[in-house]
């Protein structure tokens, strides 16, 4: 078993158009590193440097089993096989 990751339209250029891909990792951070190995460039669209440490981009939402990861540890949110991860860019503007 692996972790299913749903990819939004705007990031499908990194997944050859696939709407969902599989990855592995014990935390969101590990999963993102694993995704980067198979889909180079995707990590930079999900995380950014903030004051010297890496964090999720402000306008990218990531959900684990329907929970916004910001409420369950952010990049350190624990993952296990069979979890479903959804990535959605914020719909926002000024």
């Amino acid at each position: 078993m692996a972790i299913e990751v749903r990819i939004p339209t705007i990031l499908r250029t990194y997944t050859d158009g696939a709407k969902s891909v599989e990855g592995t990792g014990g935390s969101l951070s590990e999963l993102i590193d694993d995704l980067e190995g198979n889909h180079p460039g995707i990590k930079g669209r999900l995380v950014e440097d903030k004051d010297g440490s890496v964090d999720l981009r402000r306008f990218v939402n990531v959900y684990v089993n329907d929970e916004d990861v910001r409420f369950i540890g952010g990049l350190e949110a624990p993952l296990s096989d069979g979890d479903q991860v959804v990535v959605l860019p914020a719909v926002a503007g000024g």
């Binding site: 339209t9 329907d66 916004d68 959605l88 860019p89 914020a90 503007g93 000024g94």
Partner: protein
């Protein structure tokens, strides 16, 4: 070009007027790949601000799961500007993340919550490039029982 039913156009304008002076936002969903804006879905502006809008993250997930289940995509993403023209701001352009969507901007700066005309314009926003497009309003067909 964006084609919208009169009923949908009216619903977007009414939402923008109702939420003025805060920005209103929402989508019109339609069958994936069809470019048909069919299902009006007003959203709450979680920012509750006259200068910013953002879909609530939980409602955003629910919206996308719902569209997924119906094989839909956001054909229109709309929001209002309440003190400036109906043209995408720098923030709008930077955050636009639906390359297939028509970005509709409504400006309520002239009449606010009151009756009266609004500016209603539509754009494509792809990789930071803004292209305005024509908006065609079609009479709403009466549904047969």
């Amino acid at each position: 070009m964006l084609t919208l039913a009169q009923e949908t156009y009216d619903a977007i304008v009414a939402h923008a007027k109702r939420d003025h002076p805060d920005e209103a936002c929402g989508v019109v969903a339609g069958p994936e790949g069809s470019d048909r804006a069919e299902r009006f879905v007003p959203m709450v502006n979680a920012a509750g601000s006259p200068t910013f809008y953002e879909f609530d993250s939980t409602e955003l997930l629910a919206l996308y799961k719902d569209m997924d289940a119906r094989d839909e995509e956001p054909v229109v993403v709309y929001h209002s500007h309440t003190a400036t023209e109906a043209y995408p701001s720098r923030t709008d352009i930077g955050l636009a993340s639906e390359p297939n969507a028509h970005y509709v901007l409504v400006s309520t700066r002239d009449h606010g919550n009151s009756p009266g005309p609004v500016e209603f314009r539509s754009y494509r926003i792809i990789d930071g490039a803004v292209t305005e497009e024509e908006v065609t309003i079609t009479p709403t067909e009466k549904s047969t029982p």
